[in-house]
């Protein structure tokens, strides 16, 4: 059963929902196969990710994944976040990964057995990848 207690609980979390005014980076992600969209808002403190929030709709898997990802990201450096991302992808594609580093994210381990749902799980992570590899939003001149 793909819907573990962890996934059900995390799919209903509300605390990371919303917008960050004056976010340093805003990134939109889309799952083309189902029309799901997520917008991630990032606040950085130097190299550290100090806050993340999200807006958007999605299935239980994508919502739980987004909440768990944000919980894991806050307080990490961008470099640490990229390392987590790499291990998340390794976990989904059946390669070796560091389960210490992933912590609660390993609750999604079984999703890899549902090829049609891997995209749901990866939606926030792919969006994170875009955010970390893109240019930081320049402070407005106004």
């Amino acid at each position: 059963m793909i819907y573990s207690e962890f996934i059900m609980d995390y799919s209903k979390l509300k605390k990371f929902h919303g917008k960050i005014e004056n976010a340093h980076r805003i990134e939109e992600g889309k799952n083309l196969s189902c029309g799901d969209e997520v917008t991630l808002y990032f606040l950085f403190d130097g190299d550290k990710i100090s806050d993340v929030k999200f807006e958007g709709h999605g299935c239980a898997i994508s919502q739980a994944s987004t909440n768990a990802m944000i919980e894991q990201l806050i307080g990490k450096t961008k470099e640490e976040a990229l390392e987590i991302l790499k291990n998340v992808e390794n976990m989904m594609f059946g390669r070796d990964f560091d389960d210490q580093l992933l912590g609660p994210i390993t609750n999604f381990y079984d999703v890899k057995n549902y090829p049609m749902r891997v995209k749901c799980f990866l939606l926030p992570w792919k969006t994170l990848e875009l955010a970390l590899n893109g240019e930081e939003k320049k402070p407005s001149k106004e």
């Binding site: 819907y3 196969s33 189902c34 029309g35 799901d36 999605g58 239980a60 749902r117």
Partner: protein, 421 residues
């Protein structure tokens, strides 16, 4: 308790015909309700196609040997069967890979022939599948024609009023291209009324959803072009047909150039073969076309009117039973024009989660997503009373489905609602 249209004996024959219906999925009997995407395949059609490939196959038309003659005759017989099926002449039927290919070919050919020019208007509807939307939008950017829409109401329904409103806005579109039945709302379109309203337009019907369960007479409806896919009516994938009035096909420039479609070729110029061959360049899907012919034989052996009645009865039951669930929101007209499929949402549960649980716990195959009709999702969102997830669940029936299948779906949906609360 299966559909009352089939006797027990007839129903047993149908089950034997589609062996996958005896398969278990996640420990449950398969309940296949994804027919609008593609139907199951039939034992009769597949074995006749296998026999054709193993014992009679060769390339068609040009060679003089026995196999070529047998294969050519089967291929041309298939064309005659398709022509009879829609009341056309053989030379008006072109084999194509499917509906998407057919519409892409038509748009290009109309432009190349000067039958659709800069400044002309093409009228389509807001409920079109991407196959009858994207080609028009994209080529309008290159060739300067305009694309206008018959608007859907907020249930996704095309009404007589909306057709008349489009008529008063656009007046005389050069082309009207519309689906015979929406793959999202299940609405069967008032083709007669559209023809009557736009007398001078070239009328193209996307028959992908309609043809599998409703008899279409292209002459009586005065349709100019009709395209459809075999795989949604138990034929193999990769084969479909394009019908065009011979007078129009004569004027139409081919989309695909190459072998067989030519009459005389010099280093400077080309003249084309006669209808329908000028539209069949290259080696065709010979086995697929032959199998489409066998498919029509099989459907006619069941009695196409029986299939039509069976789908009408199952559609009515599906709508009635889903309407009883107060946590289910249904899209589309919800009347007798609503056929063969129902799109819906379970309040508070994402369609992917609904479909996943239906499969895992009940062995039910449904489809979830935007059903290749993204713009329509924003229309449905406007009329929705729930937190609309920008996609829907779709359950669709074919003649081998039963009322029991629908009962299992209803039971599954109640479970989904309980599980996700």
């Amino acid at each position: 308790m299966h559909s009352t249209e089939w006797s027990d004996e007839a129903f047993c024959r149908i089950i034997q015909e589609f062996p996958v219906l005896n398969r278990e999925v996640n420990g449950k009997r398969l309940v296949y309700l994804d027919n609008a995407a593609s139907t199951l395949k039939s034992r009769t059609v597949i074995s006749k196609m296998t026999d054709f490939y193993l014992n009679h196959y060769s390339n068609i038309h040009r060679a003089v040997h026995t196999l070529a003659s047998e294969a050519t005759s089967e291929y041309e017989m298939a064309r005659e069967k398709v022509a009879r099926f829609i009341n056309a002449q053989s030379e008006e039927v072109v084999f194509i890979s499917g509906t998407t290919m057919g519409i892409n070919a038509l748009v290009n050919s109309l432009v190349r022939s000067g039958m659709l020019r800069e400044g002309d208007t093409v009228l389509i509807s807001q409920v079109e599948h991407h196959a009858n939307l994207v080609p028009w939008i994209r080529l309008s950017k290159f060739f300067g024609f305009k694309v206008e829409y018959i608007e859907a109401d907020n249930t996704g329904t095309i009404t007589i009023d909306s057709i008349l409103t489009a008529k008063s806005r656009v007046n005389s579109p050069k082309v009207v291209s519309i689906t015979g039945q929406s793959n999202v709302t299940g609405q069967v379109m008032p083709i007669e009324f559209i023809r009557e309203t736009f007398k001078d337009a070239i009328l193209i019907i996307d028959g992908a959803q309609l043809i599998p369960h409703k008899k279409i007479d292209v002459k009586a409806l005065d349709v100019d072009f009709l395209v459809f896919s075999g795989h949604k009516m138990i034929a193999p994938t990769g084969i479909g047909a394009l019908y065009g009035k011979s007078t129009l096909l004569e004027r139409l420039e081919p989309f695909l150039y190459g072998g067989e479609m030519i009459d005389k070729v010099t280093f400077e110029d080309v003249t084309f073969n006669v209808l329908p061959y000028k539209f069949e360049a290259g080696t065709q899907d010979i086995g697929g076309a032959v199998a489409l012919g066998y498919t029509i034989d099989y459907l006619e052996s069941l009695g196409f009117e029986n299939i039509q009645r069976c789908i009408e009865e199952l559609s009515k039951y599906l709508l009635e039973e889903l309407s009883k669930l107060d946590f289910v929101e249904i899209y589309g007209p919800r009347d007798e024009t609503h056929q063969s499929l129902v799109s819906f949402n379970v309040d508070g549960v994402h369609p992917h989660d609904v479909s996943q649980v239906l499969d895992e716990d009940f062995g039910i195959a449904t489809r979830s997503g935007h059903h290749c009709a993204q713009p329509l999702m924003s229309v449905l969102a406007k009329g929705s009373r729930i937190d609309f997830p920008n996609s829907t669940v779709r359950a669709s029936v074919y003649f081998y489905n039963t009322k029991e299948d629908i009962d299992i779906l209803v039971e599954g949906l109640k479970y989904v609602k309980r599980w996700f609360g």
